[in-house]
């Protein structure tokens, strides 16, 4: 369970988040939706201990991320791009990550297989397409076979095949009782993937509920999204 409670983030005089609260539950895929600049990435970065909240808490189970004993086996995270240095090969990147958690080398080959990068594993990350970089990022997140996945814009840069593949993967993770939290500004791809929806706009949660509850009166998730984030009827 991920518990975000009243997060506030100020950067200089700008207020990035003004009291964001929601939960992501086990066995469900939770989608954090909002336009660019709504505060989705900031929320995830605070959850992962990369940025510090001005106030409020973000907990994994009952502890903040930075206090986790075995982070890689608890939370798999993917933020912007591949998260790898471009001069390193995909395999070398996964190897140092595996070492940080004492995972065997064989696990690196397993995740390369899962994300379909086995043939590109010896290429430098700088030569990867956006989609390949995202697959490498996902491979990194899956290395520790974690209970929880936190993914920032996971479908960005993926082709339709890739989007279907990641949807299946995330649905399987949730079906096995794990927690998935993802952010996106793409509604169409998301409607078929998520169980619960949290809509943020200008640093505030404007809707929070199951997909049906949030979509409810608007017909489609996309219509709901525009109605909620632009403040008017679509």
């Amino acid at each position: 369970m991920i518990t975000i409670d009243n997060l506030v983030k100020r950067r200089g005089s700008a207020k990035i988040l003004s009291g964001v609260s929601f939960r992501a539950r086990p066995g469900r895929v939770t989608g954090l939706l909002g336009p660019n600049g709504a505060g989705k990435s900031s929320t995830l970065r605070i959850l992962l201990g990369l940025d510090r909240a001005t106030s409020g808490t973000a907990l994994i189970g009952s502890v903040p991320f930075v206090k986790l004993r075995d982070p890689l086996a608890t939370v798999g995270a993917m933020l912007d791009g591949s998260g790898a240095h471009r001069a390193r090969t995909g395999r070398a990147h996964l190897r140092w990550v595996a070492r940080s958690a004492g995972l065997p080398r064989a696990r690196v080959d397993e995740v390369l297989e899962i994300v379909g990068l086995t043939n590109a594993a010896s290429k430098r990350v700088g030569g990867y397409s956006l989609g390949m970089g995202r697959r490498l990022g996902l491979a990194t997140a899956l290395l520790g076979d974690p209970e929880i996945l936190v993914l920032d814009e996971p479908v960005n840069g993926l082709d339709p095949d890739g989007i279907r593949w990641i949807r299946t993967l995330l649905r399987e993770r949730a079906a096995s009782g794990r927690t998935v939290l993802l952010s996106s500004h793409l509604m169409g791809e998301l409607a078929a993937t998520v169980d619960d929806v949290v809509v943020v706009n200008e640093g505030k949660v404007v809707a929070d509920g199951t997909l049906d509850e949030v979509t409810g009166p608007y017909g489609t998730l996309e219509d709901a999204f525009f109605a909620l984030t632009t403040g008017g009827a679509p």
């Binding site: 970065r45 992962l48 201990g49 990369l50 940025d51 510090r52 991320f65 930075v66 206090k67 986790l68 982070p71 890689l72 939370v75 995270a77 933020l79 912007d80 791009g81 591949s82 998260g83 790898a84 240095h85 471009r86 001069a87 390193r88 090969t89 070398a92 990147h93 190897r95 140092w96 990550v97 070492r99 940080s100 958690a101 004492g102 990867y128 397409s129 956006l130 970089g133 995202r134 990022g137 990194t140 960005n156 840069g157």
Partner: protein, 254 residues
């Protein structure tokens, strides 16, 4: 220990680190070959009686550029941003999501850099002193008891310099400026050396003090600093900069 293993693995799989290693071994080795052969010429012509006391050591003071590159790229690699088309990611986000404790991450990285800097120094020393001995033959300065602390001083100087470069790069989060400034200072124009002409206090800057660990005849020296004092002064510099780097790194958003 796992965090240290991860950092060692990062260094070993980084092409820039291997460039640093090549520079660290080749620069002093090649300069030593040139200066030793000109010294040999002078000795055989009879204009010089024997090779200078700092033969080999002087070259290793230049070769520390390799340790500087190592220290800078070991940290700046975390902050290299992918192109916008590739998603604009940085390795630091991965590093801190797999080793969430900032302090543990930075200590592991600094330890890996210090150990690599020391290993590079040992390799460069063996190569450089080997070149000196091959070129000068019987005219090479004889090994004495004083060479033991001097060689240890070279290793210490390189490891410390790599740490200083890393600590500065933690503050700048970008490699270009520290790399340019520090390399220029050791090779092209030594600003710290010129400063010693203005004030004797500049002799206590980290590089000027640190080289006293193994250089015995500093040109136009404006202060007497013993090897041990030089080591102590550089230790203080390294400690202070590391503490500043840790404070900054643990407080800022990644």
């Amino acid at each position: 220990m796992k965090a240290l293993a991860a950092e060692a693995s990062k260094l070993a799989s980084s092409p820039a680190v291997w460039i640093a290693a090549a520079a660290g071994v080749l620069v002093p080795g090649v300069i030593a070959a040139i200066t030793a052969s000109s010294a040999l010429g002078a000795i055989t012509r009879g204009t010089e009686a024997n090779a200078a006391i700092d033969t080999g050591y002087q070259e290793l003071a230049f070769g520390v550029a390799g340790a500087i590159i190592l220290g800078v790229v070991g940290v700046s690699g975390e902050y290299v941003t992918e192109s916008a088309e590739s998603g604009g990611g940085r390795q630091i986000t991965t590093s801190l999501t797999v080793v969430p404790s900032r302090l543990r991450f930075l200590l592991a990285k600094m330890s890996a850099i210090a150990v690599s800097g020391a290993l590079l120094a040992i390799t460069a020393t063996v190569t450089t002193m080997g070149v000196v001995r091959v070129v000068l033959g019987e005219h090479a300065p004889a090994w004495g008891a004083d060479d033991v602390p001097r060689l240890a001083g070279v290793v210490c100087y390189w490891a410390y310099t790599a740490l200083l470069a890393s600590a500065i790069t933690v503050l700048t989060r970008h490699g270009v400026v520290p790399l340019a400034v520090l390399i220029a200072n050791t090779s092209v124009v030594s600003v710290t050396y010129l400063l010693t002409k203005i004030t004797p206090l500049a002799n206590y800057l980290p590089d000027m003090a640190g080289v006293r660990m193994f250089i015995r005849q500093l040109a136009d020296s404006t202060a007497e600093i013993s090897p041990l004092t030089g080591c102590l002064v550089m230790t203080i510099w390294v400690t202070v900069l590391l503490v500043i780097a840790v404070i900054s790194f643990t407080r800022r958003d990644a």
